[in-house]
C-alpha cells in the first residue's frame, strides 16, 4: 500500500492505496465522490474525465498514486453553494442530457476546454468533445449547452 496526499475540490485528502488502484476508483470508493462515472475503463468514453492540475484527465487511465500531490477537480467541485455553475446552468437550460451517466465527463471536459478556449465555435466544441461518448442525445443538446455557456461568459 502507498500513502498519498492530494487536493480534491480544494480540500486536502489522504489515502492508503494499492499501487494498481485507478484514480477513478480512489475518488469513488475511498473518497465517496461517486459523481465521477466509469464507463469503459479503457480511456475511450470519457465518462470518468476529471481535471488534474488544470488539464482534463481520464481518471480510469491514471493511477491514484500518480495523482499524489496534484490538484484534482471533480464534478462535485463545480457547484457553488449547492447550486449550479455557469456551464451546468447552461446545460440545464439546453436540456443537454438524458440518462446522465456520461454527464460528469462531458461537463468536466467542456469546463477544461472552455477555460482554455472561451471563443470556441461549434465546430471546435464538437471536436473538443468528440472523445466523450453519449448514447442518449445525439450530442446536439450538449453542444448547444456549451455554446450557450460560452456565449453567456462572453457577454459577461
Amino acid at each position: 500500500m502507498v500513502d498519498i496526499t492530494l487536493t480534491v475540490n480544494g480540500v486536502t485528502r489522504t489515502g492508503s492505496v494499492e499501487a494498481r488502484k485507478t484514480l477513478a476508483d480512489f475518488l469513488r470508493d475511498d473518497l465517496d465522490l461517486t459523481g465521477t462515472h466509469v464507463g469503459c475503463e479503457h480511456g475511450v468514453c470519457g465518462a470518468c474525465t476529471v481535471i488534474v492540475d488544470d488539464r482534463e484527465v481520464r481518471s480510469c487511465l491514471m493511477l491514484a498514486v500518480q495523482a499524489a500531490g496534484s490538484q484534482v477537480t471533480t464534478i462535485e467541485g463545480l457547484a457553488h453553494d449547492g447550486g449550479l455553475g455557469p456551464l451546468q446552468q447552461a446545460m440545464w437550460d439546453s436540456h443537454s442530457f438524458q440518462c446522465g451517466f456520461c454527464t460528469p465527463g462531458f461537463v468536466m471536459q467542456a469546463t477544461a476546454f472552455l477555460a482554455a478556449h472561451p471563443e470556441a465555435d461549434e465546430q471546435q466544441i464538437r471536436e473538443a468533445l468528440s472523445g466523450n461518448i453519449c448514447r442518449c442525445t445525439g450530442y446536439q443538446s450538449i453542444i448547444d449547452g456549451v455554446l450557450l455557456a460560452a456565449q453567456r461568459t462572453r457577454q459577461g
Binding site: 462535485e76 436540456h95 440518462c99 445525439g138
Partner: protein
C-alpha cells in the same frame, strides 16, 4: 426551480427536474451504492464459443486473501432454480424453451458465457481470484451462424432441444398471396441482411443484492427497466415468495431494451448474497457489456415483391431467419411483431410471412430500441429499389402507395386500422423542407466534379400505443396503473411503475398532473423504483407517453374530484362550485375563500372526521390507452460519400414526426435525435462481429465504434399537427422511431449517392471498407 413559461406545463419545454442532481454528480446510480459489509463479484467467462466443461477448479481462488467465496456452475445450480429466460416465460414466447443454469455447467455456449463467480472484499481481489480459477474445456464445433444452426448436422447447443431451432418455421398469409403475385407486372426478389449490433448504454448492467437472513428478505438495488419484472425474476430463480423480494432502483444510465428483468449474473449475485448473508455488488465492466450482455438484430430476409409497372406495391412475401444467439429470449418474440408491422402505412393487398429463429454460439439476442425495426428497413429498402427499377421518384412512389386517411380508415392487410396516420403529410412536409429539385441540381453539379451526394427518405409508423381494436376488450397496450395521493405538505405524489432511464418521466408526468390537478409543477413528485410502493409497470415499447401520461391525467382528475368532495365539507360549498388553481382550493368567484391544498390535506389527516367522510386523499387509477393512435413520420438524409476513402458524411438530416400531442417538446426532440444517432451509428460504425469460429471481435470501444459529436450532424425536427383520436389523451410514444427509421433513411441516401456506379444495397452495415467494396463490385459488372 424551473421557470414557468406557459399557462399550461403540458406542451412546454419545462426544464427537467432530474437535471440538478445529474449535473452536480449527486445522482445515484447502482454502482454508487455502498452497503455495510458489501462484497464484490466478478465472473470467469468462457474464452470459447462452444465447448464441454470438463472441470472447474476454484480452490486456488478460494485460498486467495480477500476472496470470500468462489462458486462453480454446479454450486450455483444447487443454490437456485433452473428455468428458461424469465421474460420469455412471463410473455409466453412461442417455441421450445431451453432450461439453463445461471453459470455454465455442462457446457459453454458463447465467448463470455459465465463459468464461475468469485466474491471478494473488492473488485480487484475478485478479479485476482478469477485469474486463479482453472477450467478445463473440450472444444465442440462452433455454431457460428444461423445457416449452420438450421443444418441438421449442427451440434445442438441444448441437449433437451435436439436441434438449434428456437422458433420453429412458420408461415402466415394475409390476402390472396398467390393471386397477387400472379397478377403482378413484375416480381422483384432481394436478399437483405441486417447485421448484429447492440444497445451499449453508457452504464452497463449491475446490481447490489442484499439478503437479510433474519427476515428472510432479499433486497436488490437494480438497474432495470422494471423493478417488478426484476423482482419476479429473482423470486423465480431463487425459489422465493414474491413478498420476500424487494427491488429498488435509482438513476439508470441508459438501457435501450437491454435491462429488462434480472440477468443471469445479477441472479447469481443475489444467490451469493443469500448464501453469504452479506450484500454482494456486481457491476459489469465494458468488456463484459460488449461481450456478454446481449446483442440485437442479425436477421436475414428473402423478399419477393409483387409490383405493377405504374409503381404499385401490391404484395410482399418475406422469409426471415433470426439469429437468437445462445440463450433464446426476445429473438423468438420479434417475428410476430415484424409480421404484424410489415405492411406499414402502405396499401398492400397481400403479405406472406415466414420466420425461423436459430440458436447459435453468440451472445443472446436482446431487445434493442424498436426490436422489430428490421421490417421497416426491409420495406423502405424495397420501396427505393423499386423506385430505381421503375424510374419513379422515391417520395412519389411512397405517396402513391401510402393509404389515404379515410373514414372508416383503411386497415393494414395484417389487421390494424390505419386510423389517424399522417404518413402522407409527413412525406409532403419533408419534400417542402428539403427542396429536392434544388438538391438534384446540386447533386448533378457535384457529380461532374467527382463529388457524390445522395438523398434518401424513409417513412415509418409505430404502434405507440397503436389504435384501439374495434373488437378488442381492452386498449392496445393493456392497462397502466398509478397511485396518486395528496400529502399533508401539499405535494401531489404519483407512484408509477415506469422506471425511467433517461426518458424524463419525473418531469413529464409532473407536467401533466400539475395541469390536471391545479398545482404548480414543483408541487408534484413522481415516485419510481421501489416494488414496495409502485404498481406493476415497465418502461419500454414507447409505452409511457400514452399509457402513463394518460393515467397521470385521469388519475390527477380523479384525485381532484376526491379532494374537492372532501373540501366541500370543510368549506361548506358544493364541490361543483369549487376549483383548484395554483395549489389553492377556492369557491368559484370568491378568491378570498382560497385555502391551500396542504391545509385541506392536513385537515383530512387530522382524524376528526367520521366514517361517513372519505378523508383518504388517495386514488388508484388505471388507463387502457383510450383511443390510442399511431406515431410515425418521415426522415430525410443528405450524405456526401467520398469514393476514395469510403467515408460517408451526413450533411443534413431532417425528421418530420407525428407523436401526437407533445408533453415536453425538448424531451421529445431529445428522444428523436438520440434514436437517429443510434441509427446512424448502426449503419456507419457499429457491428457486433464474430469470426467464423464464434470468437468475438468487438469487445472494446476501439473495435465496437460508437458515433461521436463529430459524426452526428444537427438533426432538424419538425412536428406535424396530429389527428386527435381521444377526448383527453393524444400523447403518443416517440422513444423508438428514430432508431427504427434512421437506418433505411441513411442507406437509401448512400445508395442514391452511389447511383452513378449502379450500386444496389441489400444490407445495413456500411463502413468505409464496405462502401469501397460495393463500388468495386458494381464497377466489375
Amino acid at each position: 426551480m424551473p421557470e414557468i413559461v406557459a399557462e399550461r406545463y403540458t406542451g412546454a419545454s419545462i426544464k427537467r427536474s432530474e437535471d440538478p442532481r445529474i449535473l452536480t454528480g449527486t445522482g445515484r446510480y447502482v454502482d454508487d451504492i455502498k452497503l455495510p459489509g458489501m462484497l464484490h463479484a466478478a465472473f470467469v467467462r468462457s474464452p470459447l464459443a462452444h465447448a464441454r466443461v470438463l472441470s472447474v477448479d476454484v480452490s486456488a481462488a478460494r485460498a486467495l486473501p480477500g476472496v470470500v467465496a468462489a462458486y462453480t456452475g454446479a454450486d450455483l445450480e444447487a443454490m437456485t432454480v433452473p428455468g428458461p429466460d424469465v421474460l420469455m416465460a412471463l410473455m409466453g414466447a412461442p417455441g421450445p424453451s431451453p432450461e439453463f443454469t445461471l453459470l455454465a455447467t455442462d457446457k459453454v455456449r458463447f465467448v463470455g458465457d459465465p463459468v464461475a463467480m468469485v466474491v471478494a472484499a473488492d473488485r480487484y481481489f475478485a478479479e485476482d481470484g478469477c485469474d486463479l480459477v482453472e477450467v478445463e474445456y473440450d472444444d465442440l464445433p462452433p455454431v457460428a451462424n444461423a445457416a449452420f444452426a438450421l443444418d441438421p448436422s449442427s451440434p445442438p447447443l441444448f441437449a433437451n432441444l435436439g436441434d438449434n431451432i428456437a422458433r420453429p418455421h412458420s408461415r402466415s398469409e394475409f390476402g390472396d398471396v398467390p393471386a397477387t403475385f400472379a397478377q403482378a407486372d413484375r416480381v422483384m426478389e432481394f436478399h437483405i441482411d441486417v447485421h448484429r449490433h447492440q444497445n451499449v448504454p453508457m452504464e452497463g448492467r449491475g446490481c447490489v443484492a442484499s439478503y437479510d437472513s433474519d427476515l428472510g428478505v432479499m433486497t436488490v438495488y437494480a438497474a432495470t427497466q422494471s423493478v417488478h419484472v426484476s423482482k419476479i425474476a429473482v423470486a423465480m430463480r431463487l425459489g422465493m415468495e414474491h413478498d420476500q423480494v424487494r427491488v429498488l432502483a435509482g438513476d439508470i444510465g441508459g438501457s435501450f431494451g437491454l435491462k429488462i428483468g434480472a440477468s443471469r449474473e445479477e441472479l447469481a449475485a443475489a444467490a451469493a448474497s443469500r448464501a453469504l448473508g452479506r450484500p454482494v455488488k456486481w457491476v459489469e465492466d465494458r468488456g463484459e457489456n460488449l461481450t456478454a450482455s446481449g446483442q440485437a438484430r442479425e436477421e436475414s430476409f428473402d423478399v419477393r415483391a409483387a409490383v405493377s409497372n405504374d409503381g404499385d406495391l401490391l404484395g410482399l412475401d418475406v422469409k426471415v431467419v433470426i439469429d437468437t444467439g445462445a440463450y433464446p429470449g426476445m429473438g423468438t418474440m420479434v417475428p410476430g411483431i415484424m409480421q404484424e408491422m410489415l405492411p406499414g402505412p402502405y396499401k398492400l393487398a397481400a403479405l406472406g410471412f415466414e420466420s425461423t429463429a436459430a440458436i447459435t454460439n453468440k451472445a443472446s439476442y436482446v431487445a434493442y430500441r424498436g426490436p422489430w425495426a428490421s421490417e421497416t428497413f426491409v420495406r423502405e429498402r424495397v420501396i427505393d429499389l423499386m423506385a430505381k427499377d421503375l424510374g419513379i421518384d422515391p417520395v412519389e412512389l411512397r405517396l402513391r402507395n401510402a393509404a389515404e386517411r379515410t373514414d372508416p380508415p383503411a386497415s393494414m392487410i395484417t389487421g390494424r386500422p390505419l386510423v389517424g396516420v399522417t404518413t402522407r403529410e409527413s412525406l409532403e412536409r419533408v419534400a417542402q423542407l428539403v427542396d429536392i429539385p434544388a438538391f438534384r441540381r446540386r447533386q448533378a453539379e457535384g457529380r461532374e466534379q467527382g463529388r457524390y451526394l445522395g438523398i434518401g427518405v424513409a417513412t415509418f409508423i409505430e404502434a405507440a400505443p397503436g389504435p384501439r381494436s374495434p373488437e378488442g376488450p381492452s386498449g392496445p397496450m393493456g392497462t397502466e396503473s398509478m397511485r396518486l395521493r395528496l400529502e399533508e405538505d401539499g405535494m401531489v405524489v404519483l407512484f408509477t411503475g415506469q422506471m425511467p432511464h433517461g426518458q424524463s418521466h419525473q418531469t413529464t408526468l409532473a407536467q401533466i398532473a400539475a395541469d390536471e390537478f391545479g398545482v404548480p409543477f414543483e408541487q408534484v413528485r413522481v415516485v419510481v423504483g421501489d416494488t414496495a410502493v409502485v404498481p406493476f409497470g415497465l418502461t419500454g415499447g414507447s409505452r409511457s407517453a400514452t399509457m402513463t401520461g394518460g393515467v397521470a391525467l385521469h388519475g390527477a382528475r380523479q384525485l381532484k374530484v376526491k379532494v374537492l368532495d372532501f373540501a366541500s365539507q370543510l368549506m361548506e360549498a358544493s364541490a361543483m362550485d369549487l376549483q383548484i388553481t395554483d395549489g389553492n382550493v377556492w369557491v368559484r368567484g370568491d378568491p378570498a375563500s382560497a385555502i391551500p391544498v396542504s391545509e385541506i390535506a392536513q385537515q383530512a389527516a387530522s382524524g376528526q372526521f367520521g366514517a361517513d367522510v372519505d378523508a383518504n386523499l388517495e386514488v388508484q387509477a388505471s388507463f387502457d390507452g383510450g383511443e390510442g393512435g399511431w406515431s410515425g413520420g418521415t426522415h430525410c438524409a443528405i450524405v456526401d460519400v467520398d469514393i476514395e476513402t469510403g467515408l460517408v458524411k451526413v450533411e443534413r438530416y431532417v425528421a418530420v414526426e407525428d407523436c401526437g400531442a407533445l408533453i415536453n417538446p425538448a424531451v421529445v426532440e431529445g428522444q428523436i435525435r438520440g434514436g437517429v444517432a443510434q441509427g446512424i451509428g448502426a449503419v456507419l460504425l457499429e457491428r457486433s462481429a464474430y469470426d467464423q469460429d464464434g470468437n468475438y471481435q468487438s469487445a472494446t470501444f476501439m473495435d465496437y465504434l460508437l458515433p461521436t459529436a463529430s459524426d452526428i450532424p444537427r438533426i432538424e425536427v419538425d412536428h406535424l399537427q396530429t389527428v386527435p383520436l381521444d377526448a383527453d389523451v393524444n400523447f403518443r410514444g416517440v422513444g423508438e422511431g428514430g432508431m427504427i427509421v434512421a437506418p433505411p433513411t441513411l442507406v437509401n441516401a448512400i445508395e442514391d449517392a452511389l447511383a452513378p456506379f449502379g450500386v444496389r444495397i441489400r444490407e445495413q452495415h456500411l463502413p468505409p471498407a464496405r462502401i469501397l467494396e460495393l463500388i468495386d463490385a458494381a464497377n466489375a459488372t
